[in-house]
Symmetry: C2
Subunit: 160 residues, 2 copies
């Protein structure tokens, strides 16, 4: 029986820029939430929705590193890749992101880990797309389900 | 005596996005212009304004690679770094860019090499900043001098 508390995941857009902003609190300190993003053995346990199998080809989360992984279910495979522009422990990660099904689309994602005290962290992910159309395509892709479920899985990992 | 023709470098902004777009033609085919961007032994011969010494710490221009270099003159050193999100020869490079003097500023740069035929190439570089203020800071930084002089040096390298 799980006693893990799941906080709300807020997804909002910017009026002036093609940015999607995701805000989520976690009941764990920044160092621990940060490590769950940088250690591939942990990432593989929570990233993405339930019901998809994550296979990491490589995940070298350091400034100048890169990643490539596949989400798969019975319907098919979804491949993603990007580069880590900056990894500044335990406060900030800047990385690029592309879904191979739309190879010319790129987002620049900035993750900020804010220490709320009392062993709590606010994570804000700001994804900048290269157009408002790209932003709307991202919003209508069902990404919100994957984000919410992924963060619930991350809650469970952090509590374990 | 140089007989190299220098084409105009056009620098423009987007009305809706914090993007700086740089357009420049070269009298060389895409493969050759592309290679001058990916081979560090060539990059070091043209990137940046005249009068600055470029020192490459590393320049691993492949999908998932990264770079770090320093421009120096008598007044000081200027360090830059970023990651290569995608290197798709000979048509497209997507990379991140940060000037260490402003470490939280990041641009996402997309370089497109268009084959104009007759051994000519149009290079379009689209730099997306994370705010309109960041874009204006980039425009007022004197970057235009470095871009124009760098491309004149690239003309000379391509003609040699």
């Amino acid at each position: 029986m799980s006693t893990v508390i799941h906080h709300e995941t807020e997804i909002s857009v910017d009026p002036d820029l093609p940015v999607v902003r995701i805000t989520r609190e976690f009941d764990a300190p920044p160092e621990k939430v940060f490590r769950a993003h940088t250690d591939p053995d942990l990432v593989v346990q929570w990233l993405g929705p339930r019901g998809l199998q994550l296979t990491v080809e490589h995940y070298d989360c350091r400034t100048g590193g890169s990643y490539r992984y596949t989400h798969a279910d019975a319907d098919g495979e979804y491949r993603f890749y990007g580069a880590f522009h900056e990894v500044r422990a335990p406060e900030r990660i800047v990385q690029t992101f592309t879904y191979e099904g739309f190879p010319d689309g790129v987002s620049l994602d900035t993750l900020t880990f804010e220490d709320l005290g009392d062993g709590r962290t606010r994570l804000v992910t700001s994804s900048m797309l290269d157009s408002f159309e790209g932003r709307d395509a991202m919003l209508s892709s069902g990404m919100d389900v994957g984000v919410r479920e992924g963060y619930e899985r991350l809650d469970e990992l952090l509590a374990s």
